[in-house]
């Protein structure tokens, strides 16, 4: 029986392990010595010293540039941006510098940087603290993006991000922080099939994977076997796993919490259509947030957030297209 860990503790353990294993790893961010708003870094300053776990002023732009400069010159910084919304303040450094320096320098420079950000809809925080901005990062060549859905994956994915020689945006959904799960030592490269199925492929990541699994349970009750894929890495995107599944099922739903317009669902829909067009028996369905900012009121926030019902409905609508061609 392996120990059950909360998601937030798995991240803490991942940071702890990386700090212990490699002197080049430093943890930097607002209030990280205190532990940050959710406790991910609690105690690390005492354990590893304040020269390796540092608080910064509220200066996101400069902090992102500084950790990039530190990564260029030999450290492996893990920077915490308190809310993904605040990454807007650091976008120039992230997109114009961290993501591009390896390429612009013709491969001379490396930016082994991990950017930990939490976000997503939870807690009635309103439009400045609830956005899902991952398609900005996946749209940016040079960035890698990872979005764990389970506590077990959180630690090895964080280790992989920190060990990577590229800037990696590590997306945490604060709605997952208190979930518990067993640790595992499975490889964390690429996507993973969370539930095998034959009729429809549901592709998702982060917290929405849980909705996808719940929807699959409901679909099973009505005789539809959904295959649920947890992408884990959003860039690079493991299209092979997705395409293999869709080639088998002929139907695909892509579900995420970000707005549908311009989201990862669009990218997967485009790729699936292009690559397995002849196997498709139905159009790729997207489940994403409505094209609106996130409202604060509970009733509106709930309406905004897509979930199990929407996935079930989308998968059901694809089943109406009949069986795949022989």
């Amino acid at each position: 029986m392996t120990a059950e860990l909360r998601f937030i503790d798995a991240i803490h353990a991942g940071l702890q392990a990386s700090l212990a294993a490699d002197d080049a790893v430093v943890v930097i961010g607002e209030d990280v010595t205190y532990g940050g708003p959710f406790g991910a870094t609690k105690g690390l300053a005492d354990e590893f010293g304040r020269h390796r776990v540092r608080d910064t002023p509220i200066s996101e732009a400069t902090v992102m540039g500084m950790v990039t400069g530190a990564a260029l010159t030999g450290l492996r910084p893990v920077v915490e941006v308190m809310f993904v919304d605040f990454i807007t303040l650091a976008m120039d450094q992230l997109v114009n510098h961290a993501a591009k320096l390896h390429f612009m320098s013709g491969g001379q420079l490396r930016v082994p940087l991990t950017v930990r950000v939490q976000g997503g809809v939870r807690g009635r925080f309103g439009a400045h603290h609830s956005q899902s901005l991952e398609s900005w990062f996946t749209h940016t060549p040079g960035l890698k993006v990872v979005a764990p859905a389970f506590p077990g994956d959180a630690k090895p994915l964080l280790a992989a991000a920190i060990a990577n020689d590229n800037p990696v945006v590590y997306l945490e959904h604060r709605g997952l922080y208190w979930d518990k799960g067993p640790l595992h030592d499975d490889p964390v490269d690429g996507a993973v099939v969370r539930r095998p199925g034959t009729d429809v492929t549901v592709v998702s990541y982060s917290k929405m994977v849980h909705s996808a699994l719940a929807a699959a349970d409901r679909l099973a009750d009505s005789g539809v076997e959904a295959e649920v894929i947890d992408l884990r890495w959003l860039a690079p995107l493991d299209t092979a796993t997705v395409l293999e599944s869709v080639a088998k099922t002929g139907r695909a739903v892509v579900a995420h919490e970000a707005v549908a317009r311009g989201g990862l669902g669009a990218e997967l829909a485009a790729t699936i259509q292009r690559e397995v067009f002849t196997e498709l028996v139905a159009p790729v369905e997207r489940v994403g947030a409505a094209f609106a900012p996130v409202a604060a009121a509970a009733a509106l926030e709930d309406a905004f957030l897509p979930g199990v019902d929407e996935i079930e409905r989308a998968a059901g609508s694809l089943m109406a297209f009949g069986p795949p061609p022989p």
Binding site: H139, P141, G262, G263, A269, P283, R286, A292
Partner: protein
């Protein structure tokens, strides 16, 4: 038949700004790089001299001056703020995304942000990775922003008119390679092009080429080349990405059954991806072949000319994609 006059895109652009300054004293302009560093920028300088007290030339502080324009929009002006090279929008992202785009909604419809952000986007020759950005894809998954991407002198005049009248923040995505193109522009001072209405820049029956901004010109060039090979291409220009005229694209694909999406954004999660998704969701049964995207590759824009050309959506690549999708 409307009266028109042939003019350069740059002239039409400056004419549109002049018209707004002349007809609405709430319009103030921040920044001077509407025409980039091209020689045409003299026209903007002349306009400033005509309306000296309506221009503001800001420090190199995008976050500060773009936010200042947003605050001014909340307090009665209708600013048109030039961010120049689109790659610098990231400095101003906190204000564009968090404030301008969200405020109307967050305030329950009580505070509007009527203004225009002007960007020069795209590969322009030697701009390298930090001066060649196409911002459309990132901006259009931000609810609350309107996005216009004119491709002709006529369109820039008509779209600026509509953007200036809109109570929403509008991102005006422009391309330096358009400035020297020319075409007929209606004389009518009140000529306006509604947002969310696509324009069929060339009618055709065999394949739909979707393109916006500068790439409309390349798509039209490709269509000419395709005609020589007996392929009749339709070029659909959405003119505004937000709102998007989904109907027009779907209708065109319903007719042709084949689609090539041309887009200057990077491929992954670019505008092209969204168009592909919209088409598959709404016209799946009409598609006779898998649609193809012709986009900027998923790499930062390289400096050296042969490298730059290799990653761009060129006319040749559009032609090749159209040939492939039509089974040639």
């Amino acid at each position: 038949m409307e009266d028109t006059r042939e003019m350069l895109y740059a002239e039409a652009l400056v004419g549109a700004l002049r018209h707004q300054l002349a007809t609405d004293d709430r319009v103030h302009i921040m920044g001077l790089y509407f025409l980039g560093l091209t020689p045409h920028r003299q026209m903007v300088a002349e306009l400033r001299d005509e309306y000296l007290d309506r221009f503001y030339y800001p420090p190199i502080a995008e976050l500060g001056y773009v936010g200042t324009a947003i605050g001014a929009a909340m307090a009665g002006l209708r600013p048109i703020v030039d961010i120049a090279t689109a790659s610098f929008m990231f400095e101003a992202f906190p204000q564009i995304i968090n404030e301008a785009a969200n405020t109307y909604y967050m305030s329950g419809g009580r505070t509007a942000v009527p203004m225009i952000f002007h960007f020069n986007h795209g590969v322009r020759g030697g701009g390298a990775a930090q001066h060649s950005h196409s911002p459309q894809a990132m901006l259009w998954n931000t609810p609350g922003l309107e996005i216009m991407a004119p491709s002709t002198p006529r369109d820039v005049k008509g779209l600026v008119k509509t953007a200036a009248a809109s109570d929403n923040p509008t991102a005006w995505v422009d391309h330096v390679r358009l400035f020297d193109t020319s075409g007929p522009v209606p004389d009518d001072e009140d000529f306006a092009i509604p947002f969310g209405v696509a324009d069929i820049k060339r009618a055709g029956s065999d394949v739909t080429l979707f393109a916006s901004s500068w790439l409309v010109q390349r798509a039209l060039e490709a269509a000419e080349l395709l005609e020589q090979q007996g392929i009749d291409a339709e070029v659909v220009d959405p003119r505004t990405l937000s709102p998007l005229d989904e109907e027009a694209i779907i209708e065109s694909v319903a007719k042709t059954g084949r689609l090539v999406v041309v887009d200057e954004c990077h491929r992954r999660c670019g505008v092209g991806a969204e168009i592909m998704a919209v088409v598959t969701e709404n016209a799946f049964g009409d598609l006779r072949a898998a649609p193809i995207r012709v986009t900027t590759a998923d790499v930062p824009v390289p400096f050296s000319p042969p490298l730059e050309e290799h990653i761009e959506p060129t006319t040749d690549k559009i032609v090749a994609a159209a040939l492939e999708v039509t089974g040639h």
